[in-house]
């Protein structure tokens, strides 16, 4: 795509300035939307920042959202590195949550230290399994992964609804939900720890899984750039022909990338099901897989960028609820508008401003050399 220009411009321009310009354009247009519906964008920004960072509970909420977005952002990024577009993060997270829920329902008499690793493994396994079928079909039968993962999102949704309405539903319960897990295996909340240290941060859903998200970032960084498998995966993503000449198995790279991608998306289930809801329910993912696409594009598929982008989107989601509360014209869907614009400008239209910015820096480099 824009490979010609990226090697000649400074890395910080490519990795920081270009995304920031694209983000700025997306935010500017969001401001236009805010004006169009008769509100003041500066008031909205003020309210957003206060809502996201203004008080300890808000920060807790922001970090909780960011945790989910790190998982799904990494998930999209790992697939991207292998040249695959995994739109199925939503379904993989949903099925990952099922894995967590089944473990918690079956083993909630066990101590947390035992249940936690099993639940994490189940989340990874279920998420990976849901990604495996599209991966296998792409690698072996040439079915386009974008279409199959979209289909699998719908199939996941139908499957979970069926399971919760007909199988796992708590007896005597009208709503499609399972029974509560025993409180002993709920993941510890951050606010309980901080209270012990004398800090009162209210009751945000921030929990132990955020540490898991940090670990996931480190894992992806090591895996993609410091293992043989990561190298193979990037080679396939860069040029399938080169990979074939190098004797790298395309099938293995695709399946491995999607298994890890699905497993990472499945981790969202640990945060939400074991950390927040404490029972199985329907429709809890609420688009988290799609936010991952925006996060990965913004973060340029690098764990550090993804963590920063996830924080940004966490702030948008949490601050967005505050705006909806403060300014009656604006609803919480405004955040979805911003998300769409970010994907548009950081992803689809990334070549719109890049050549100009690149030209600017090339000219300067030439001038300095002369």
């Amino acid at each position: 795509m824009a490979a010609a220009s990226s090697s000649e411009i400074p890395r910080w321009v490519d990795y920081l300035l270009v995304p920031l310009v694209n983000l700025a354009v997306a935010l500017l247009l969001s401001g236009v939307v805010v004006i169009a519906i008769g509100a003041n964008p500066l008031d909205a920004l003020d309210s957003l920042l206060f809502g996201a960072f203004g008080y300890p509970e808000a920060i807790g909420f922001t970090l909780y959202y960011a945790t989910n977005f790190i998982f799904t952002g990494l998930s999209v990024a790992v697939a991207f590195h292998a040249g695959l577009f995994n739109i199925g993060g939503e379904g993989q997270a949903y099925i990952g949550g099922l894995g967590v829920g089944l473990v918690c329902l079956a083993l909630d008499q066990w101590p947390l230290v035992l249940v936690f690793p099993i639940a994490v493994a189940a989340a990874a396994l279920f998420g990976a399994a849901w990604a495996f079928i599209p991966a296998y079909l792409q690698a072996r039968r040439g079915s386009h992964i974008v279409i199959t993962t979209i289909m699998f999102n719908f199939i996941a949704s139908a499957l979970i609804t069926y399971l919760l309405v007909d199988v796992l539903v708590e007896p005597g319960q009208q709503a499609p939900r399972s029974r509560d897990f025993a409180p002993e295996i709920w993941l510890p909340y951050a606010h309980n720890f901080l209270k012990a240290l004398g800090i009162d941060m209210g009751q945000p859903p921030l929990n132990f899984s955020s540490l898991l998200a940090v670990l996931a970032c480190v894992f992806v960084w090591l895996f993609i750039w410091h293992t043989r498998w990561g190298y193979e995966l990037r080679t396939v993503g860069h040029s399938e022909r080169a990979a074939r000449y190098a004797g790298i198995s395309r099938t293995r790279a695709i399946i491995l990338a999607m298994l890890i991608s699905g497993a990472l998306a499945g981790m969202v289930g640990v945060n939400d099901i074991m950390g927040v809801h404490h029972y199985l329910l329907v429709g809890w993912t609420g688009g988290v897989g799609f936010v991952g696409i925006a996060v990965a594009l913004m973060g340029r598929n690098h764990p550090v960028g993804i963590a920063m982008a996830a924080l940004l989107f966490g702030a948008l989601y949490q601050g967005g609820s505050e705006i909806a509360f403060d300014i009656p014209q604006i609803t919480k869907e405004m955040v979805v508008v911003i998300q769409g614009l970010v994907i548009l400008f950081c992803g689809a239209l990334e070549n719109m401003f890049k050549p100009q910015i690149a030209a600017l820096f090339r000219r300067r480099a030439v001038a300095e050399a002369a």
């Binding site: 795509m1 939307v33 169009a36 519906i37 008769g38 577009f85 739109i87 079928i133 079909l137 039968r141 040439g142 079915s143 386009h144 974008v146 279409i147 199959t148 979209i150 289909m151 699998f152 719908f154 199939i155 139908a158 499957l159 609804t161 069926y162 309405v165 007909d166 799609f290 696409i293 925006a294 594009l297 014209q329 604006i330 609803t331 869907e333 405004m334 955040v335 979805v336 508008v337 911003i338 998300q339 769409g340 614009l341 994907i343 548009l344 992803g347 689809a348 239209l349 990334e350 070549n351 719109m352």
Partner: protein, 324 residues
């Protein structure tokens, strides 16, 4: 016969009403994908058109102006997709996803700001929506046994967009297979270099295809809000754009097989509403969710090559760069 026959006819009529937006959207996707542009934003374009049509109809009181607004908005989005995919060689799947997400946010945001009804538009009455058309003599012919009710309930008694959709299928077939534009369209999707060599601009063909995509998506979306229903509600398309995409794949990117796929999916949908809680012989009670998931499962099986083989237009999804 009568009760069973009549309830079967009711099922067929409801299938026809459900298939209308599907086939229009699937044909929209056909133009985009046959020209080499992957379009997963059928959902977003339909939703935008549904909202624009309902909002405009609510303001002006005219369903026709509403339909026009729906079409214009869908064309604008299709061209934005074209700008990203054709002009800037962007990733077409990312662009489609961006549009879907953008509209999913924008429609309720604007709806809430303009109408203060939680993202809905006001209930449309009278000329603000397309009413049911009763074909001549429906009541009289309806008296004739067996054939009569077929005419009265299945052929007569739909709104204008349903009849438009029926006409669209042969028209699209004719455009794609029997016109010069159709030949160029298919070439742009299969072998754009050959088209370029012949002195035809690939970009121009693709932009025109996307305009048609916009028109058809606009009609499909408007159907939902100002013909089938009386107003826009949140997330009104509810995955119909993706279902249309599945039907397009299932129909192997050809108009007639796509129509049959749409009919199959719509029939499953109509049946699903009737089957809720009904115990069937042999299989017992079929979970509704299974029937809902059936179109997607079938499409995956088809893509996997277990039932037939679906091969996408060869150049689909690849930006056309001249010097390669």
């Amino acid at each position: 016969m009568d009760a069973d026959w009549l309830s079967f006819l009711a099922l067929v009529a409801s299938t026809i009403r459900l298939v209308t937006p599907l086939i229009l959207a699937a044909l929209a996707g056909l133009f985009a994908e046959r020209s080499g542009i992957v379009d997963i934003a059928l959902e977003g374009k339909m939703l935008a058109a549904a909202f624009a049509a309902a909002a405009t109809a609510a303001f002006t009181g005219s369903a026709w102006v509403g339909l026009g607004a729906g079409i214009v908005v869908a064309i604008a989005l299709a061209l934005l997709h074209g700008l990203a995919s054709i002009r800037y060689n962007g990733n077409q799947v990312v662009s489609g996803m961006a549009l879907n997400i953008l509209i999913a946010g924008l429609a309720p945001t604007l709806g809430n700001a303009w109408f203060h009804q939680g993202g809905q538009t006001p209930q449309l009455v009278g000329d603000a929506r397309f009413g049911v058309i009763t074909l001549p003599g429906a009541a009289t012919i309806g008296q004739i046994p067996v054939i009569g009710p077929l005419y009265q309930y299945v052929i007569s008694g739909h709104n204008i967009i349903v009849y438009l959709a029926v006409a669209a299928v042969p028209l699209v077939w004719w455009i794609v297979y029997r016109t010069r534009f159709g030949l160029r369209l298919r070439a742009a999707g299969e072998n754009p270099h050959a088209l370029d060599t012949a002195g035809v601009s690939v970009a121009w063909v693709r932009y025109r295809a996307l305009v048609i995509t916009g028109v058809l998506c606009g009609i499909a979306g408007s159907y939902l809000s100002i013909a089938h229903n009386a107003g826009f509600v949140r997330d009104m398309t509810a995955g119909k754009g993706y279902l249309a995409l599945a039907a397009l794949v299932f129909g192997k990117w050809r108009p007639l097989p796509t129509l049959f796929a749409c009919l199959l999916f719509a029939f499953a949908d109509a049946l699903q509403i009737r089957l809720q809680g009904v115990v069937l012989p042999v299989v017992g009670q079929v979970p509704v969710q299974f029937i809902q998931a059936l179109p997607y499962i079938l499409t995956v099986l088809l893509l996997a090559g277990f039932v037939g083989r679906a091969i996408a237009p060869k150049a689909s999804g690849i930006p056309y760069v001249k010097d390669r």
